[in-house]
Point group: C2
Chain length 105, copies 2
DNA sequence: GGAAAAGTTCACTAATTAGTTAACTTTAAA
DNA sequence: TTTAAAGTTAACTAATTAGTGAACTTTTCC
């Protein structure tokens, strides 16, 4: 009996990737890629925020170093901006004194 | 004597990074970061071209898959475009069926 | 060498980011 | 609990990319 419950429960377990395949389509499709872009934008924002905090900078300080304003930094960190590569480089190099690496898997 | 020549020659050997420090300023400065962005844009174009060719696609085919035109693909591959992240994702995901990874070093 | 395919460049418009100010909300420290 | 600092959001303009057609150049291959 316990086993049966376990089995039923197991049927409902779905991998994240399969969930995404079903909800947004397979990788490489337009809808899936749109979803991926949005989540990557969000994750990148979090990453930038984390690194800024590690570097002990406020958004205002980060903005000053990169020649912009704190309101814009906030937008980026909150995943509300589809930024250009030059902007990303500026934030990482001038703002954090770090380097960005791009890899295609 | 041979040694002396070698010494003189050695004095003229300069590391690439030091050359860049001198010519464009240290990492994190505005001028250096502008240079870095330009070279990264160029390198990324090469990388995309290489991967497209590996995938046996023409620029026109790549354009079709990503919903744009071959003229635009050409511009990007030749480092003439400071593209948005969404554009980069589109090229890599819809065009190449691959995944992009961003890392901060 | 000639033709077809592939790639590049130019010129232009539409769409979107970058940049900014100001008001508002949240957080942290006294 | 008050206050100042930090962060968020909205609204707007200016600057730049995204998108496109067409002409031109280079490469490929018969």
């Amino acid at each position: 009996m316990k086993k049966e419950v376990a089995k039923k429960a197991k049927d409902k377990v779905v991998s994240w990737d399969k969930h995404l395949d079903k909800k947004y389509g397979l990788r490489g499709t337009v809808t899936r890629s749109e979803f991926e872009t949005k989540s990557q934008t969000f994750i990148l924002g979090e990453l930038l925020k984390e690194e800024r905090e590690k570097a002990n900078l406020t958004q205002a300080e980060m903005a000053e170093k990169t020649g912009t304003k704190k309101s814009y930094i906030s937008r980026i960190e909150n995943g509300r901006a589809d930024i250009q590569l030059s902007t990303l480089y500026r934030l990482i190099e001038q703002g954090l004194n770090r380097k960005l690496e791009l890899t295609i898997h």
